[in-house]
């Protein structure tokens, strides 16, 4: 029988005399890196992703969606000529509980009810399930939706419906601008970006005999889904079970949308009484699931001629799409990072997130910061250009040092590595020498030259863990258990989606307990097994939950050793045999001296920041505007590095996503519908498009976490795009203000030709025919 030690308790019994076997540990374990835990399964095809799971008798599910951006749903008509006896249809009327996808605000329905408002092109209206795909396709053809179209809003600057707004600032902005010798303004726009995990979204719901439902699928946050199922299907904690299948990438895209698919699959499965597979194909995934928020960022910056930064006024507008999802938090992170990693005495940053009739935008690696940091860095590079100061030197003067104060009044007491990452990237690339070479080449260039090379630099910061009081509100619990069978295992809800959770958690626990990593098991991400340690988002897994399991392991070690009076590694199996299992639960407690006031938005916005600097080199074809990104060096500080191979993998992958954001990834919209909604038309970098990427890991530990780690997943995403745009400027002499920096935008900037439309804003509906 396993006993449970709740958070904060210690149960110190008198040491029992135990027979302890001689030490069997092999020496020299510290310092060896474990290989990816689930790697062999992934490398042999044994790993089971959702679509690989077999449930005999399962039916196939499908979603009927809106084809208009804004309308009233009048009716859903089933053609009587079709045999509907082999099809299950679910509408809003079949939802037993609340018809909302439970998240921040109760605005997004699971299915639009008849008479209700359709707010975007991909909105779910009803669901079908059939025993085979052919019947399902035929049923879809025999179903018609009647609507009454309403006027639609596509530009966040024209929208009057606000999801959230906030303002942060310090100092005296007017005095700052009065003092400034030079004032530089700039407006920057970025569009949607698709996460493009290679595994499409997928959920399979299995109805249970108790009226409950078990959902297996691809997701980042099993407990988000658990909460959504309980609320809308009126289930108890035990009736709703969510089990993560192997997950083929997330990048934020599987933070909130899986709740929607799980609800859809579960509604069908419960009505049908059989398992239902809801597996999106790429087209549906691209059409309907969340994207990175488009944003418009305006900067007005006051500087002295010697480069001193004296005033920053920044205005951020984000496009939330049709429903709130996580938008207020995305906006908040965007605003908090909008000034860049720079000390400025007089700052005001305002942000607002607006509703449009486009599919809802949501979480994507970086979570609002890549948008605002692209703007901040391009603005900084333009200022350096205008003042005739090298971008490297400007940042040496501006970058945060320990003791500096951020716009929320947060004093950066420790773990500030802005200068370290800057110098590391500059040194590794020999930035100054290359910049001098490209400058000379540009000045000596003959008209008619075809190819130009450029080098660019950008830096950034990324708050680790949830914003503000987020971690305190979540109050996640993680456990380390010694089972009755004498097995040590880690219990958390943190999902593995490629980043390495299942590898670093055993590594951290093994280090505390004196075991080999492979002697520590990881419990499945199954809500009936593991506690709610919070979502797998916000670069919080290694820092926050990693810290919890270290503390739990220490308590487990102390408990066992108090009884056995021998080192844990030598005595835990005997302890389990003689005393049964023991589970230690560890709940999040605020980091020391970290305080944030949600009401005034002041204080410590994050317990610690990661710091990054990227240097990119590009070639630009001056005739076509085509950019080739040749190489990118990214120096990233994420505190103490737990596993260098996995950490480098995060930096390399995040950097390429940023390069894609900078150069080719763009979604065009017409009438609020994504136009390039297939992989043939939404392009991400291939191995030939990808630059050679070098990751430099800088370690500036955070004392609040027992292992000194900070987050790393999102950090590299913040700096790659502005570095590429700076390199394009270095090659061509033109600044690109809108992402992506496509050949069309570059040529327009070089020749003065009309620029393409603003990224992220839909074209209106094409004129309708006379019919």
């Amino acid at each position: 029988m396993t006993r449970v030690l709740p958070p904060g308790t210690s149960e110190l019994s008198a040491p029992d005399p135990l027979v302890v076997p001689p030490a069997t540990r092999t020496p020299g374990r510290i310092g060896r890196l474990p290989l990816r835990r689930e790697g062999p399964a992934k490398l042999t095809g044994l790993a089971r992703y959702a679509d690989d799971l077999v449930f005999p008798g399962a039916w196939y599910g499908a979603t009927i969606r809106s084809t208009e951006p804004h309308a009233t749903l009048l009716a859903i008509d089933l053609n009587e000529a079709f045999d509907w006896s082999r099809v299950v249809v679910v509408t809003a009327a079949d939802i037993p509980g609340d018809n909302v996808v439970s998240l921040m605000r109760d605005d997004q329905p699971i299915l639009v009810p008849v008479g209700g408002e359709i707010r975007h092109q991909a909105e779910a209206l009803c669901l079908l399930a059939a025993p085979d795909r052919e019947t399902l396709r035929a049923a879809k053809r025999h179903l018609a939706v009647r609507t009454d179209r309403l006027s639609a809003v596509f530009d966040p600057l024209e929208s009057t419906e606000e999801f959230s707004h906030l303002e942060v600032g310090r100092g005296d902005l007017e005095a700052g601008f009065a003092e400034a010798e030079v004032v530089i303004e700039g407006t920057y726009r970025v569009g949607h970006q698709e996460q493009l995990y290679i595994e499409n979204q997928a959920m399979i719901a299995v109805p249970g005999p108790d009226g409950g439902v078990t959902v297996h699928g691809s997701c980042q946050c099993p407990y988000y889904i658990h909460r959504a199922l309980k609320r809308s299907l009126q289930l108890t904690d035990h009736q709703a079970v969510v089990i993560q299948a192997e997950t083929g990438g997330g990048f934020g895209g599987k933070e909130e949308y899986p709740s929607m698919i799980a609800l859809h699959a579960a509604l069908l499965a419960r009505k049908l009484g059989r398992p239902v597979r809801m597996i999106y194909d790429r087209h549906e995934d691209l059409s309907a699931t969340t994207k990175r928020h488009p944003a418009v960022v305006r900067h007005r910056t006051g500087v002295m001629r010697d480069g001193r930064l004296v005033a920053q006024e920044i205005d951020v507008v984000m496009d939330g799409g049709a429903y709130c999802t996580l938008t207020p938090v995305v906006l908040s992170r965007g605003v908090l990072h909008a000034g860049g990693p720079y000390s400025c005495p007089n700052v005001r940053i305002r942000g607002r997130a607006m509703a449009t009739n486009t599919p809802p935008n949501g979480a994507f690696r970086g979570f609002g910061a890549p948008q605002t940091e692209f703007a901040a860095e391009t603005q900084a590079n333009r200022i350096a250009d205008a003042l005739g100061i090298s971008p490297l030197e400007l940042r040496r003067r501006w970058a945060y040092r320990e003791g500096d104060t951020t716009p929320t009044g947060q004093v950066l007491r420790e773990s500030v590595a802005a200068l370290e990452v800057l110098e590391a990237a500059a040194k590794a690339t020999d930035f100054s020498r290359h910049a001098e070479q490209t400058r000379r080449a540009r000045e000596a260039r003959q008209s008619g030259a075809r190819l130009a090379s450029g080098i660019g630099l950008a830096m950034g910061w990324h708050g680790a863990g949830f914003t503000g009081s987020g971690e305190v509100h979540i109050a996640g619990t993680a456990s380390v258990e010694l089972t009755d069978e004498g097995i040590v295992r880690v219990l958390t809800a943190q999902t593995e989606m490629g980043q390495g959770t299942k590898t670093i958690f055993p590594q951290l626990v093994a280090e505390e307990l004196g075991l080999e990593p492979d002697q520590v098991e990881v419990a499945p991400q199954d809500t009936s097994v593991v506690p709610d340690s919070g979502p797998t988002v916000a670069s919080r897994t290694a820092m926050v939950v990693g810290g919890l399991i270290i503390k739990a392991a220490r308590r487990l070690r102390a408990q066992v050793q108090a009884v056995t009076d021998h080192p844990f590694a030598d005595s835990y199996q005997v302890f389990a045999r003689d005393h049964g299992g023991l589970r230690v639960d560890e709940q999040f407690e605020p980091y020391p001296n970290v305080e944030f006031d949600d009401a005034t938005y002041t204080g410590d916005a994050y317990p610690a920041f990661g710091w990054a600097c990227a240097v990119a080199r590009v070639d630009v074809d001056l005739d076509t505007g085509e950019v080739t990104v040749r190489d990118v060096v990214s120096a990233d500080d994420a505190g103490r590095i737990i596993h260098p191979v996995l950490a480098e993998g995060q930096v390399e992958g995040g950097t390429l996503q940023a390069v894609g954001y900078a150069t080719i990834e763009e979604i065009k919209l017409v009438d609020g519908r994504y136009l390039n909604d297939r992989l043939a038309t939404y392009l991400i970098p291939t191995s030939l498009d990808a630059p050679r990427i070098e990751a430099i890991l800088v370690e500036k530990p955070f004392s609040g976490a027992p292992h000194g780690a900070k987050g790393i997943g999102e950090l590299p995403m913040d700096v790659g795009a502005p570095a590429v745009v700076a390199a394009i400027h270095d090659a061509t002499g033109v600044w690109i203000h809108d992402l992506p920096a496509t050949p069309e935008r570059i040529l327009a900037a070089m020749t003065g030709a009309p620029a393409p439309g603003a990224p992220g804003v839909s074209e209106p509906a094409p004129e309708r025919g006379a019919a």
Binding site: T44, D51, L688, R692
Partner: protein
């Protein structure tokens, strides 16, 4: 209609419509789910398999074209207990993260390693250009393939 071919050396026979995708035959009829579907239109390469040694997208190949051929999938490489050299190199370098592109990536790499003596970075990048990976930035995948190429070259240094 009945089609006979080899999968990973085993003779198989399936009785399915001729236009059924090789991908569905592998995954659903033969329960070989190691081959993944990422886009269904030949853009991502997650379903890459070898057809008589040539890398193809199994989502674009109708089963009628497979009759009489030899198909190799990820299940035909090493086992989890005994990875082959390429799989081991992916594991050690960090070439697999989420793993969904990995089976297809391995097959594209195997085709490259089997036919090419040159293992320059450029030739490796060219060989896997039809296989999208969103996690790694390709850096460690290229490293894993280069390492395997060097090992195989050292073990069998025949000029091609």
């Amino acid at each position: 209609m009945s089609y006979r071919f080899f999968v990973n050396g085993d003779a198989v026979e399936v009785d399915v419509p001729g236009m059924r995708r090789l991908l569905d035959v592998l995954r659903e009829d033969l329960a070989l789910t190691g081959t993944k579907e990422g886009c269904g239109e030949g853009e991502c390469g997650a379903c890459s398999v070898l057809l008589d040694g040539a890398v193809v997208d199994a989502c674009l190949v109708p089963i009628c074209q497979v009759d009489g051929t030899s198909v190799r999938t990820v299940e035909g490489l090493g086992s989890a207990e005994q990875l082959n050299d390429l799989q081991a190199a992916f594991l050690e370098t960090g070439g697999a993260q989420c793993g969904i592109c990995t089976p297809g990536m391995l097959m594209a790499a195997e085709a490259f390693l089997a036919t090419s003596a040159a293992s320059s970075e450029e030739s490796i990048r060219d060989a896997i250009a039809g296989n999208l990976c969103r996690c790694t930035g390709y850096t460690k995948i290229v490293e894993a393939i280069a390492r395997t190429a060097a090992q195989r070259q050292a073990a069998d240094p025949r000029p091609a």
